[in-house]
């Protein structure tokens, strides 16, 4: 075990709702001061996990530890956990001041102390002119700041954020994301941030927990999640446009090993031992990101070799600086990312090469990466 005691420790956490499993077998260690993102499609159990940590849901099985103390049976009021809800859950009938002061009043802090701390927080979040405004009249950005301020005033052990930027229009969203990141760095507080937006998770998180169907798929840094996805799900979920997958057969010829698809074959001799150790059958999924597919000429310039794949351009979608090109490989469509200056047009035939250093291999049966 690490010498530092984790702030939060989840052990075999499981939650069922009327027989439906929302979270299953979740283990997680969160260190003091860390920014962790729970990332996954809606219904993957990320919010449920957050609510179990807060005490708003009771786990069906498993344990939650806070600083080494089991808190399964501790009521939410006593957990000292801050929670920022998706819709901020402000007390609409009250003023910004009363919203901020609520937690301190509950704790029976003296009036002067409350006033001092509320004004301090208001200053930090630029809410001073709004202190007497009713919460129901605030702009979204101000609502978010009130929700954050209100929660931070109670000095929580950990701050849980449930998709706080979800309702905010693009543009403002990026601004508030940056604000949040700066805030976390200033405060050095532990935060768990739930989102279904990979961009948010990649920019905010020290580590990301990717979840799917109630299970943890991978827990790693944003870089690792992107470059070393451990499962087919993570590989397909992270990255835009998503990773291309081609189903192939593994075949050994003499002392060389290949992945075959029709008359295409990619040599994987150097990975032979690991493949044979890990894969039961001979079916392997080859994953390649759109940005790692190159036209043959360009690949040769960079000194890349490998199977030249004949393709036909099916569709070109220009983005700001890049173009997404749909390529037909037999009956399969894969996506390639090319510079905006590229002159590829629909119907054009060409050959491309998959950057051999960037190829990901997955066991088709277990859907796990072969590394």
């Amino acid at each position: 075990m690490s010498e530092e005691r984790p702030l939060i420790l989840l052990r075999g956490l499981r939650k069922e709702f009327n027989g439906l499993v929302a979270v299953e077998g979740l283990d997680l260690e969160i260190k003091e001061g860390e920014f962790i993102c729970f990332l996954g499609p809606s219904g993957c159990g990320k919010t449920t996990t957050l609510r179990m940590i807060a005490g708003l849901e009771t786990p069906t099985a498993g344990d939650i530890f806070l600083r080494g103390k089991r808190i399964n049976d501790l009521p939410p009021q006593q957990r000292q956990v801050g929670f920022v809800f998706q819709n901020y859950a402000l007390f609409w009938h009250a003023t910004v001041y009363d919203n901020l002061a609520f937690g301190l009043r509950v704790r029976e802090v003296s009036k002067e102390e409350i006033d001092r701390r509320v004004r301090e927080t208001a200053a930090r979040f630029e809410l001073e002119p709004l202190l007497e405004t009713r919460a129901s009249r605030l702009s979204l950005s101000a609502m978010q700041r009130v929700a954050l301020g209100r929660t931070l005033l109670t000095e929580p052990n950990v701050l849980l954020l449930d998709e706080p930027l979800n309702n905010i229009r693009p543009g403002l969203r990026e601004v508030m994301r940056a604000e949040l990141k700066r805030l976390q760095q200033q405060l050095g507080r532990t935060m768990i941030y739930v989102t279904h937006d990979q961009e948010e998770a990649m920019t905010l998180g020290d580590r990301i927990l990717v979840m799917n169907m109630g299970r943890a798929e991978q827990l790693a840094s944003p870089r690792q999640i992107y470059h070393r996805p451990e499962t087919l799900f993570v590989a397909g979920f992270i990255g835009r446009p998503p990773m291309n997958f081609l189903e192939t057969q593994y075949r050994v010829e003499g002392d060389r090993a290949f992945l075959e698809r029709g008359n295409l074959r990619w040599e994987v001799s150097e990975k032979r031992s690991i493949i044979e150790e890990k894969v039961k059958g001979n079916r392997i999924v080859l994953g390649i990101r759109p940005e790692h597919i190159l036209p043959v000429a360009e690949a040769r310039e960079k000194g890349l070799t490998g199977q030249a794949v004949p393709v036909t351009v099916d569709l070109v979608q220009p983005l700001a600086r890049k173009k997404i090109v749909d390529l037909k490989v037999g009956d399969k469509v894969i996506k390639m990312l090319v510079p905006g200056t590229s002159s590829l047009a629909k119907g054009e035939e060409l050959e491309v090469i998959f950057d051999p250093r960037k190829m990901h291999l997955f066991d088709q049966k277990t859907e796990r990466a072969i590394v």
């Binding site: 956990v81 007390f91 929660t151």
Partner: protein, 309 residues
């Protein structure tokens, strides 16, 4: 989905009426207003009419010779003349009925809304009673009150009186209990609607700030449903204030209420339209005042909480 459709329909209707042109719209509105207001105007008019105009043929919309006698008679003020005095002398003065109504209706209203609110909170937040119990409370409204009247009368005037030595017949408490019981289902269901509209997250935020369930209820939920609470109170108050059948059945002299008193002006001697109308007008005053006083809360109550989910 449901509201979307409703919105669509309403918008469509508004657009349709807009097409009609202002003149036609005004005429339509006028017709509706006349249909709605005519009975009220008629009662108001009769309450100022002398006896010979009550049943005049052809009828007069406005009294030819307006008098205050109908009102004076109710409270036995001054010395009304002629037939009216003779006709009304048999009836009770209205003071007692008015006082009774002013005791019974507010108390049973507050009791009903209080119980209804607590029950609604339990049902909405803790699913107390599952699906069955909240629905079951509605059975008190499923039968016509007349169907309850006879068994209840048997209960009040026979079982309670003879076996438990509790006499609730013709008492304030007797009617208060009954009114509370009959309206509590309304209170529950109305308040449940308002409480359901308060997002659970708001309460959870207060809990995570350290607040106890009671504190959450009183400092967060209650203020948020304040408007709904006022609306429910007004609604239940109107039910209790105007209730006739049970009051008629369960009172005879001491605890009669205003609606019963109004019915007393129709006897074998004749119909006392004038005093009847006058009492009707007076009886509507508390409801109008109550409605006016809480108007502001009704509006804010309905706009708060519902809009921002």
């Amino acid at each position: 989905m449901q509201t979307e459709t409703n919105k669509g329909v309403t918008t469509a209707r508004i657009v349709e009426t807009r097409k009609l042109g202002p003149a036609l719209r005004f005429v339509l509105a006028l017709i509706v207003a006349i249909i709605v207001l005519l009975p009220v105007i008629w009662i108001l008019s009769i309450s100022f009419k002398p006896v010979e105009e009550w049943k005049a043929d052809p009828p007069t919309l406005l009294p030819r010779r307006p008098i205050l006698d109908n009102y004076k008679i109710l409270f036995r003020i001054g010395n009304p003349v002629g037939t009216v005095r003779e006709m009304v002398s048999s009836a009770e003065p209205v003071n007692r009925a008015f006082l009774n109504s002013l005791i019974i209706a507010p108390i049973s209203t507050v009791a009903s809304v209080l119980i209804g609110f607590c029950a609604a909170y339990a049902v909405s937040r803790y699913q107390v009673g599952g699906n069955f119990m909240p629905f079951f409370t509605l059975t008190t409204r499923m039968f016509p009150p007349a169907a309850f009247a006879v068994p209840l009368l048997f209960y009040y005037s026979w079982i309670l009186r003879n076996y438990l030595k509790i006499d609730l017949y013709d008492t304030h408490l007797g009617l208060i209990l009954m009114y509370t019981g009959f309206t509590v289902a309304f209170s529950l269901w109305m308040m449940k609607g308002f409480i359901d509209a308060v997002p659970r997250h708001v309460e959870e935020a207060a809990i995570l700030d350290g607040a106890s369930p009671w504190r959450v209820l009183f400092t967060i939920t209650l203020p948020l449903v304040k408007g709904g609470l006022f609306a429910t109170t007004l609604f239940v108050f109107i039910l209790n204030w105007t209730e006739f059948l049970l009051a008629l059945e369960f009172t005879s002299r001491e605890a009669i209420t205003v609606p019963v008193q109004i019915s007393r002006y129709a006897t074998a001697v004749g119909e006392f339209y004038g005093p009847k109308a006058a009492l009707g007008i007076i009886a509507s005053i508390p409801v109008v005042i109550a409605g006016y006083l809480i108007q502001r809360h009704l509006v804010t109550g309905f706009t708060f909480g519902m809009v921002r989910e």
